[in-house]
Symmetry: C2
Subunit: 216 residues, 2 copies
């Protein structure tokens, strides 16, 4: 079930699913046994029709008047997102942002475990950051291959980004989460996910500008 539907999930749906998941886990902790699309929509200030469609895509089946059994809907979303199995990731670039991500404890709940961190700076190599020793970036491709690491988290400076991405691809990494402003060139089979703070800031400051009304 769900293979065809899976392929049709758009980015907006994918981005909302973690929000549902977080809410549903909270509701479960409070002892609630069923979740309805209507309640989820209300809690997250979303359109109930959108929520219903999003939840349907996971293949979960609701019960009339009761909604979705809590465990079933949670499992369906996790399964749909590929979060029922955790993927191993390498992080490359242990600057401020790299350290912040290494310290973030939420990733494992979202299907990703950063198993090692790498840097090229001799002063940073060998340091232990949040329980992980920083390794030499030169060893990254062969380690990625050996450990079958699938995800590369790229937090180096912009000028090194392409070179490191190349090394990730060489190591067999198939998805790169790019926190640098560099537009990367990778083979077609490699998935790129860009985290673009400047883009978020653009949305925010444009909205602020419209509201303030100091046009011209």
């Amino acid at each position: 079930m769900g293979q065809l539907e899976r392929k049709t999930a758009g980015v907006p749906t994918l981005k909302r699913l973690p929000l549902y998941l977080r809410l549903l886990r909270q509701m479960k902790e409070k002892g609630e046994e069923y979740a309805s699309g209507t309640v989820v929509a209300k809690e997250l200030s979303l359109d109930p029709i959108v929520v219903r469609k999003d939840l349907a895509i996971t293949g979960a089946v609701g019960r009339p008047r009761l909604g979705f059994p809590m465990d079933e809907i949670i499992e369906a979303i996790e399964e749909f997102l590929g979060w029922s199995n955790t993927s191993d990731a390498f992080l490359v670039g242990v600057g401020n942002l790299g350290r912040a991500l290494l310290g973030y404890t939420g990733f494992e709940q979202h299907g990703m475990r950063i198993v090692a961190a790498f840097d090229s700076d001799p002063e940073i190599i060998g340091q232990t950051i949040h329980g992980r020793e920083v390794l030499n970036i030169e060893d990254m491709p062969k380690m990625a291959k050996r450990l079958h690491v699938q995800i590369g988290v790229l937090t180096v400076t912009a000028s090194k980004a392409q070179k490191v991405a190349d090394a990730m691809v060489q190591g067999g990494i198939r998805a790169i989460w790019n926190f640098t402003p560099t537009t990367l060139v990778v083979p077609d089979h490699v998935i790129l996910q860009r985290e673009e703070l400047a883009s978020s800031l653009a949305v925010l400051s444009h909205r602020l500008l419209l509201q303030t009304g100091h046009e011209t």
Copy 2:
């Protein structure tokens, strides 16, 4: 010019504009005097029609066969995004992520200057992080009011997010950049921009799952 068009800019356009701006600034540094939508599209692997529409919305006018004069198009995008005037921001929550953002030097190029950082932890208050002394969060609302700060960057832990957002609103802050997983409730006139790492990760891991093909 451009007031009406401004209102019609959708989020995808707003998110692409910073990418154009970065590329155009690079091209300018290399001494190029004109930029065409076609070249921008090619460099960023985007549809030329999309790029042309995006650039048109800024009100810049291209010259036949030459494209946009470089300074004009750069200025038009900056103006459109409200980045020609820098907005002051307060950051609240000096953990790993807060430190990373304080260390990020790119914000001023994107219209935002973090002028002060706040925390509630006595051990953190008084520390100097990237040239800014961390102040007591209790002083934040009245300082925001006095300095007419418009943007609040929220990097506290999830459980404190709503309380701090309330304090930001009390201080007259009109846009909150929310890096926490908490769904905030704020008055209608306050702009919320959410930075949701879990959502990005959802897109990435779902794509990885589709490609790997290990559906059950």
